[in-house]
Amino acid sequence: MEMLYSITTGVLSTCGLYLILRGRTFPVVVGLTLLSYAVNLFLFSMGGLTTDGATVVHGNGEGHYADPLPQALVLTAIVIGFAMTAFVVILAMRARSEVGNDHVDGKKEDRE
């Protein structure tokens, strides 16, 4: 399980990083989204992966339960991430209409 989890996180962040470095706004936005998924997964695993554990509500201090804090953190991070993605999508569209193309520097590439 740890192996699968870390490979998933790694693949997501690799794809995210690659896309962020692209020249057009759409891949960059998708890359940011992928990166934030990867980060959320990573954050979720920071308390240690617990399988078949109860929530902390039923844990009586000695039992086998999942660390609740990363869950709360991930929830916050997801909400913030959604808001940011919405904002950056609108911003990219505004940039497309004001500048006239969708390059992040606002310049047409030479090979076009």
Partner: protein, 503 residues
Amino acid sequence: MMQHLIIFPIVLPLVAGILLLYQRQGLIGFKRALGVAATALLVVVAVLLVRQASSGDVLYYALGDWQPPFGIVLVLDRLSALMLLITSLLALGAVVFACAGDDEKGSNFHGLFQWQLLGINGAFLTGDLFNLFVFFEVLLLASYALLLHGGGKARIQAGVHYVVLNLAGSSLFLIAVGILYGATGTLNMADMALRVAELPAERQGLVTAGGLMLLVVFGLKAAILPLYFWLPRAYSAAPAPVAALFAIMTKVGIYAILRVYLLIFGDGAGPLAALEQGWVWWLGLATLVASGVGILAARDLRLLIAYLVLLSVGTLLVGVGMRSAQATSALLYYLIHTTLITGGLFLLADMIGAQRGKAGTRLVKGRPLVQGKALSLALFVGAIAVAGVPPFSGALGKALVLNAAEGAERLWLWPILLLASLASLIALSRAGTTMFWRSHRGSISGKVLPKRQWFGVVWLLSAAPLMVIFAGPISSYTQATAAQLSAPQDLIQTLLPDAGEAP
């Protein structure tokens, strides 16, 4: 009432911002009054907080009475109180300036402005790492919208870079927080300092990685050398009152570096102590060099001031990199000065640009100005202060920083900082002579500028003489702050009284 005062700098802008959301035609007078009143009240609160903090006690506010390390805490010490005061003073100047008409160029200026203050104040007060992230996001979201206030091609383009970079930075911040939580099992900064001090050897690598990743994030906010490229464009494109408020944003990064590395990776952290020092010192010097070049190359007054912000960041960073109480005290004095003066200069540049009409803030010959004398006098005062020429506060601040360097540090710092100051002096005098003296003959250009704009500029630039007159009390406060920062045990003791002796 007094014990709830700590949360006031967060609640006040939040409530004011919500009230300001209300939309109706012809409400602008009400909005302006509310925005200015809330900001002025914030100044009063900040002054009260500084008075509370200057006793030397660390105060904290546990939300919902959940005691640390489990609950969310706001911590007030001398440093955070000082930063709150600077923010509110700067904001008051900026918001009054905006009331002259800049706030009508887009929607919701005053509400966003208050939320920006909410984020900044929260970042200065919070006592745990995850809430630092949350408040960073709050201030960034507001700043994205404020940067785009008024629209236009240049702003949108600068905005795309700014937003994408900061989103990537937020991801890094979360990764770093996750690593540190995983390795130490806590998010409370005071608690983390204790855990780092007794860290098992196999986790040191993880914590080092997390700690340095945080440095990248704070470096992005503060605009350290390889991460500053967004700054000149964004600051020179932003509307004037927003650019002035942004003068504190780089300082949020500096504050976070000071707070995290002096508390968590302080002298008690064993092998992890002073994790950042080498990086911050050398990159700070490199930032100084880059800003000197940028200052000389800038062909626009606003861009020139944006590079002056970068110069101040470099100066502050080398102060952090020296990591001595004397250097911290010096950099805090310099921080007050540079925040207020660069903020004032951004406002002033906008006024000059408005009066010059078509020539704008570009450094080209234009027609003579209606209020040329007053504007040039203000620019003169600001330029002398920011370049660090006596008799104003810049000279004192720079002298303190230079004096704090010891031994081999002098060899590096003195020539670089002095040459960068010389560069800013040359560039500013060139800008001043081009805009005010080398003007075409011909009709006088421009309309008389509103009184509110003058108030904003004079309010901020008056820091230059006032900080020299009151240098004694200010520097004794900054020295006490530096002493408090270099002894983080007091803060940890206050927050976690049980954890003191028996780890």
